[in-house]
Symmetry: C2
Subunit: 180 residues, 2 copies
DNA sequence: AGCCGTCCTGTACGGCCGTACAATACGAGC
DNA sequence: GCTCGTATTGTACGGCCGTACAGGACGGCT
């Protein structure tokens, strides 16, 4: 009960890895099952076999990052910079998924309730609130979104760099946004 | 020769305005002709009549911003912060379009040559190069992408705020990213 | 040997997209 | 008044998407 089953799990992992990369590059909606299938040398039905609804793929890819994010949102931080450093560390650790977590999936109003897009935008808003506090000033709003966007952008666009390098430089850069 | 023709131009403008807003909210690919048509109270064929290929819509919406951007890229700046301030001003001025200019349209490798997506990613790369210089250090790369991303994110997420407020706060915030 | 579950393929369907085309309403101009 | 260009509609087509379903290849178990 090993070889056959393990081959399945292995291709399953290869699909997940390929999908993660493609999603990070092009975004969720822009990647079709056929694209993923082509990347791993299968047919799209084979991919659909492993992940029955397409949402499963997104959910399974996001899951570990989402768990970390929930933990992050649950913790208390002395100030904005401290939280932002923690968020930067989190973003770098999960950089292949970060784009999906912050935006992308699901447009504005068309998201059917309970869809993954719903929860994702919730995450984005919670991050913002955690960073900017309750009803922040316009300036604080701008700074908070700027900080969040800087992390997301930098992390996605420098995937070829070692994680440590990115985290060091980015933490400094992002914290610099918050006044001071 | 007025009423009939002017009504056409007016609905044309209304279509453009609605499309600009929808694109800014959901992104280019996520908005269908039917969506735009519904927003202005027409059928999708009516929209298609005014903008024969759908790309026309994107092109026409982007055009003025693209012109400004080209001018911006053509100018010389004493240092990074100066360029970044100019870019921030540009981004705020064209904030309803900025999302399309920086990312979104066209994924990674599937863009047919000559498509709008091609040109758009070119813009993104040129902005980066202008800000980070030729073969920058890893740190400089991170900072440059962080700065660009902060502007894009903040500008899109604070569309309800007055432009001046955003520009002031954002210029400060973005410049803070570049070392210091 | 023979069954069975896992893995994958081929084919087919319904849905939404952008587009093409014929038809209609209507004010403008000779 | 008839014609013409503009603006809009309705219908229809082909393409790509995600999904469903039936079938086949293959190793593990009894």
């Amino acid at each position: 009960m090993m070889t056959t089953l393990d081959q399945g799990n292995e291709t399953r992992s290869r699909i997940l890895a390929a999908a993660r990369d493609l999603f990070a590059q092009r975004g969720y909606a822009a990647v079709s099952l056929a694209d993923i299938a082509a990347a791993v040398g299968l047919t799209k039905t084979a991919v659909a076999y492993h992940f029955h609804p397409k949402d499963r793929l997104a959910a399974e890819i996001i899951a570990p990052a989402a768990d970390d994010l929930i933990a992050l949102l649950g913790r208390e931080f002395p100030d904005g910079p401290a939280f932002l450093r923690a968020f930067t560390s989190f973003a770098v650790r999960h950089r292949a998924v970060i784009r999906l977590l912050t935006e992308d999936i699901g447009g504005a109003d068309n998201a059917p309730p309970g869809s993954p897009g719903e929860a994702l935008r919730e995450f984005g808003r919670e991050l913002f609130t955690k960073l900017a506090g309750p009803d922040p000033t316009p300036e604080a709003r701008v700074r908070a979104w700027a900080a969040l966007g800087s992390v997301q952008s930098a992390v996605v666009k420098t995937m070829d760099l070692p994680a440590e390098t990115v985290e060091h430089a980015l933490a400094e850069a992002a914290v610099a946004i918050l006044h001071n």
